[in-house]
């Protein structure tokens, strides 16, 4: 985990006065619309780590190298000219064509500059499905990355608590949103029912997770600091 992120506050009316007045997009071309102005700075900063820039239906997509994605998100978050401080979504796309790599997608917004950017990395099939986590930059990535792991099996390295979120802990059928996962599930209905009835609901969450004293070492740094100070959050 990195040091606490220096964070410039976004307050009421902080949106840049120079930005053009926002308007409903009209007659958006399929390809080749206006490119997000952050892309030039991004290419200048990261060079060849930026593999490709697409503009589809007016939305700019930047494909970056897998190891650099957290750096890119960090820089976009911190740089005073960009300030992409709102992580809207983390998800993944697997195509029906088995040759095509799995894409992990981040949708980020710059609230002060009113910009929207889509970041992508490509994960080749067969290799380990792992990308760096952006949890230390955006706390909203916590559950979004967990869900992406739950549904696609993509490991977010650096996430403090990467476990299943929508499916239960003992779920053994695989990752439901992968294309090789059948719509009805892997097992027959009777087998699914048998497993559900045989499951021990108490075993879903270990007592270690629930016992703060024992789990203390596993807690994220920030939470440990807060607890050791006896600080009460939300006040």
């Amino acid at each position: 985990m990195t040091a606490p992120v220096p964070f410039s506050p976004v307050l009421a009316g902080a949106a840049s006065p120079n930005a053009p007045a926002p308007a409903t997009p009209k007659s958006v071309p399929h390809r080749g619309g206006a490119v997000n102005p952050s892309v030039d700075a991004l290419v200048q900063k990261f060079g060849t780590a930026v593999r490709r820039v697409d503009v589809v239906w007016g939305e700019t997509t930047v494909v970056v190298d897998v190891p650099r994605i957290a750096d890119v998100v960090q820089w976009l978050h911190d740089d005073p000219g960009q300030r992409y401080d709102f992580l809207a979504d983390v998800t993944a796309v697997e195509f029906r064509d088995v040759e095509q790599p799995i894409e992990v997608v981040w949708h980020i917004r710059s609230l002060p500059y009113r910009r929207f950017l889509r970041l992508k990395v490509l994960l080749e099939k067969g290799a380990a499905l792992a990308v760096p986590s952006v949890w230390s930059i955006h706390k909203s990535a916590d559950w979004l990355e967990r869900e992406c792991f739950d549904m696609f099996g993509i490991k977010f390295e650096g996430h403090p608590d990467l476990r299943r979120i929508l499916m239960w802990e003992q779920y053994r059928e695989g990752f439901p949103l992968r294309k090789d996962f059948p719509l009805r599930g892997r097992f027959s209905r009777s087998e699914q029912l048998r497993q559900a009835l045989a499951a021990n609901p108490e075993a879903r969450y270990s007592m270690e997770e629930l016992n703060i004293a024992q789990a203390y070492e596993d807690l994220p740094d920030e939470m440990r600091r807060r607890l050791s100070r006896g600080e009460k959050t939300g006040e």
């Binding site: 009421a12 308007a23 998800t91 909203s140």
Partner: protein, 437 residues
């Protein structure tokens, strides 16, 4: 000197005094001869109370969790030390099912995720699909969709208001709120025939144009609703119990709120003036005159105030939308995407082919992807669709606002009392159908 300890039990019908006139139901300590001694706890006898933590499980079947949310709370006395939310009890795999459906067939699924805001979801999905198809909708359709979105926002906020009032202990506003919600349901029922699962949009238009006289009913609602809202406001906003149970709870600073990805009234209550209708407009929202209310403290009370004001602003938008509702077609004139009238399908060869192709194969968007987010009552509701050129999306992703808002609940409840967890949880305005999908 050996002492024995005994508790004197008396009948409840007595005055609470034993025959000697001493207060009953207290442990009496007597020496060997039976004389009562003064009660002085020897030092060290008091058990060590600090550090003994208790686990409390709330839900998944609990009315105050607004669905099947399970919260495991670790308590120190009555203070929450740690909160672990568990979700997934309502997981239905909507996103997986969407990969096996044509675009118009997905719209009924959007009713069922955030089921308090079905018409708004229909509009959001249709906007996303239309960007993927490269369609420009008609002017009348745009205004009708604005009306739909704002009615839907009022509807959702009314449910939130009613249930939160019940959670905090007020029953009457719940009845008033649900009475008005019923009026909106009546409007929707007259329009498309359904109340909850409206499926009100199609890709390229609406399921139907509004029936005759519908706009007059809407005008009646717009005129009568503010009165109810004012009554609720008068009963609740300055109510001592309400204020005492909501002020200072679950505070999120603006920086934290942005970093935790909060959106909608949750974010605006923290003082961040971010509203997709203003910042990333859709449906020509930039041409409407309305204000975005923001809070200053980011606590439960501010979220309540923001939502109350949002309902008033929605009424303002509705008034403007009614005034400018243009005549003209609702659906676009492109029968590769929108079905031709059914009457023509049996008499016109071309229309029959369009019907056949659309129903059997479905319209095909070009290869591409789109992420369209709208300001739902809960926050930023986004639909991300990826097309590979076939009639079914490769990936249909719902960006659920309540999911991300709920992920901040440990941060909000830790350090507060157990009873405040209910109020804070209510203030997030969660819908489990959307969180678990």
């Amino acid at each position: 000197m050996a002492t024995t300890k005994r508790t004197v039990e008396v009948e409840l019908s007595t005055s609470g005094l034993d025959p000697q006139g001493r207060p009953a139901r207290v442990p009496l300590v007597t020496d060997e001869s039976g004389n009562v001694m003064t009660l002085e706890a020897p030092p060290g006898l008091e058990p060590e109370l600090t550090g003994e933590h208790m686990l409390i499980n709330i839900g998944p079947q609990h009315p105050a969790t607004h669905g099947v949310l399970r919260l495991v709370l670790e308590l120190d006395g009555e203070t929450v030390v740690r909160c672990i939310p568990h979700i997934g009890y309502l997981h239905c795999g909507f996103e997986k099912i969407g990969e096996y459906r044509q675009y118009n067939q997905i719209i009924p699924w959007t009713d069922r995720e955030d089921y308090l805001n079905s018409p708004g979801n229909n509009v959001a999905f249709a906007l996303g699909a239309e960007r993927l198809f490269g369609i420009e909708i008609t002017e009348r359709c745009t205004v009708l969709r604005v009306i739909t979105c704002e009615l839907s926002r009022i509807m959702s906020h009314l449910v939130w208001l009613g249930t939160t009032c019940i959670d905090i202990g007020a029953f009457t506003p719940f009845l008033w709120a649900f009475y008005q919600r019923e009026a909106i349901y009546k409007l929707l029922e007259d329009w498309v025939g359904a109340r909850l699962t409206t499926t009100i949009t199609r890709v390229g238009g609406m399921a139907a144009d509004v029936p005759d006289g519908w706009v007059d009913q809407l005008k009646h609602f717009v005129l009568t609703f503010p009165k109810t809202l004012g009554e609720i406001d008068r009963v609740v906003t300055r109510n001592g119990i309400w204020v005492g149970r909501t002020i200072g709870l679950g505070v999120m600073s603006p920086e934290e709120a942005v970093n935790y990805g909060l959106s909608g009234p949750m974010l605006r209550a923290s003082g961040v003036a971010y509203d997709l209708r203003k910042d990333f407009p859709y449906l020509d929202y930039e041409t409407y005159d309305f204000d975005v209310p923001i809070g200053t403290n980011g606590d439960v009370y501010d979220r309540f105030l923001v939502r109350m004001e949002e309902m008033r602003q929605s009424i303002r938008i509705l008034e403007q939308a009614i005034a400018r509702l243009p005549d003209g077609p609702v659906n676009i004139d492109d029968h590769r995407v929108v079905l031709p009238p059914k009457s023509k399908a049996t008499s016109d060869m071309e229309s029959m082919i369009h019907h056949f192709k659309q129903v059997m194969e479905g319209p095909r968007p070009p290869i591409g992807e789109s992420y369209v987010a709208v300001e739902s009552p809960k926050g930023e509701k986004g639909y991300y669709m990826v097309s590979d050129g076939t009639s079914k999306p490769v990936r249909w992703r719902i960006r659920p606002p309540s999911f991300v808002n709920l992920s901040a609940i440990p941060k909000m409840v830790e350090g507060h009392l157990l009873s405040d967890v209910i109020a804070i949880n209510a203030s997030i305005d969660i819908v489990m159908g959307e969180i678990d999908r």
